[in-house]
């Protein structure tokens, strides 16, 4: 029997199904692509409800009270550091740095008292200013009117 030459038996692969599938995959990945948004966060540690207060009274620097007053529609009406009004969050940062800056900043705790109607962005603005003033212990007190 005569052997066939290599030229006669050359098999061409049909690429069409593979290209079809590859384009399907490409389309899927393109449509499901969600650009990664890098978020930031402020870590806040608060007491759990079940935890009892310590029995032994330790010496503690009193917390810096920051009051955020809101208008009826949730805008920021006033910022108070203790009982003194500050003009802006930048001003708050400067005042806090003057009061509790330097080595003391790690020891000092800030307590934010915000009105219930206040928009969340203003609350974060206050947290941002306190963080910029190197205050890491931030707590939220019950809301106001």
């Amino acid at each position: 029997m005569k052997r066939r030459s290599a030229e006669d038996t050359k098999v061409e692969m049909n690429m069409t199904p593979m290209i079809d599938v590859v384009f399907q995959l490409l389309t899927f990945f393109m449509f499901t692509l969600k650009p990664m948004i890098h978020e930031g966060q402020f870590a806040v540690s608060m007491s759990a409800g079940a935890v009892a207060a310590p029995e032994v009274e330790e010496f503690k620097i009193p917390p810096l009270a920051v009051h955020l007053k809101a208008t009826e529609n949730g805008d920021l009406a006033a910022i108070l550091l203790g009982d003194r009004q500050v003009q802006s969050f930048v001003d708050l940062q400067i005042q806090v740095q003057m009061l509790a800056g330097g080595a003391m900043a790690d020891e000092v705790e800030a307590e934010i008292h915000a009105d219930d109607a206040l928009q969340y962005s203003h609350l974060i603005g206050a947290v941002n200013a306190l963080t910029a003033a190197k205050i890491s212990k931030i707590n939220f007190a019950g809301g106001g009117s």
């Binding site: 409800g49 935890v51 219930d116 974060i124 941002n128 910029a132």
Partner: protein, 165 residues
């Protein structure tokens, strides 16, 4: 001038560069695909805060609380009003807490701190608050208080370090 007829008549297109490029594109899209959705709800527009620490890696055992602009908690495909549907939210939070406590029980065999936390009724999960920039504080406060009552004590408040286009 007359055009010369092509010598072979049957011109086969070389597909190799196109297939190469397509595979490169697929590889790219596969790598940038974000499978861990982080339970981040796109309806929530976070406030901007330049001091917010960038989130690196995954938070261990997180409990995401997405709160929309109307003060509604977006969870398990529903929108719960924090002020009026507090009981339903508390049930949801308690169920999540029970799951976290079960995981803590396993870890407590080898970690004394986890065992102490478990005995004190504290839950190791971090509550990640993702609230819309314009949501009223009362909703957030309500949620935080509910979480504290259940035993959560670690909180993280999400914000955007810079404005997104």
């Amino acid at each position: 001038m007359r055009k010369k007829p092509s010598p072979g008549g049957d011109a086969a297109m070389d597909m190799t560069p196109m297939i190469d490029m397509t595979f490169q594109l697929i590889t790219f899209f596969m790598f940038v695909l974000n499978f861990s959705k982080d339970a981040a709800d796109e309806r929530v527009r976070l406030p901007i805060a330049d001091q917010a620490t960038p989130v690196e890696g995954a938070t261990a055992e997180p409990l995401f609380l997405n709160v929309d602009r109307d003060g509604k908690l977006l969870a398990v495909g529903q929108a719960w009003d924090v002020m009026t549907q507090g009981a339903a939210i508390e049930t949801y939070l308690s169920r999540e807490a029970a799951l976290a406590k079960r995981n803590m029980q396993y870890a407590a065999y080898t970690d004394a701190k986890v065992a102490a936390d478990l005995n004190a009724g504290k839950i190791w999960s971090t509550v990640v608050v993702r609230a819309d920039h314009s949501t009223p504080y009362r909703g957030i406060r309500g949620l935080i208080e509910m979480c504290q009552k259940i035993g959560y004590y670690k909180f993280a408040m999400r914000a955007m370090p810079e404005e997104q286009l």
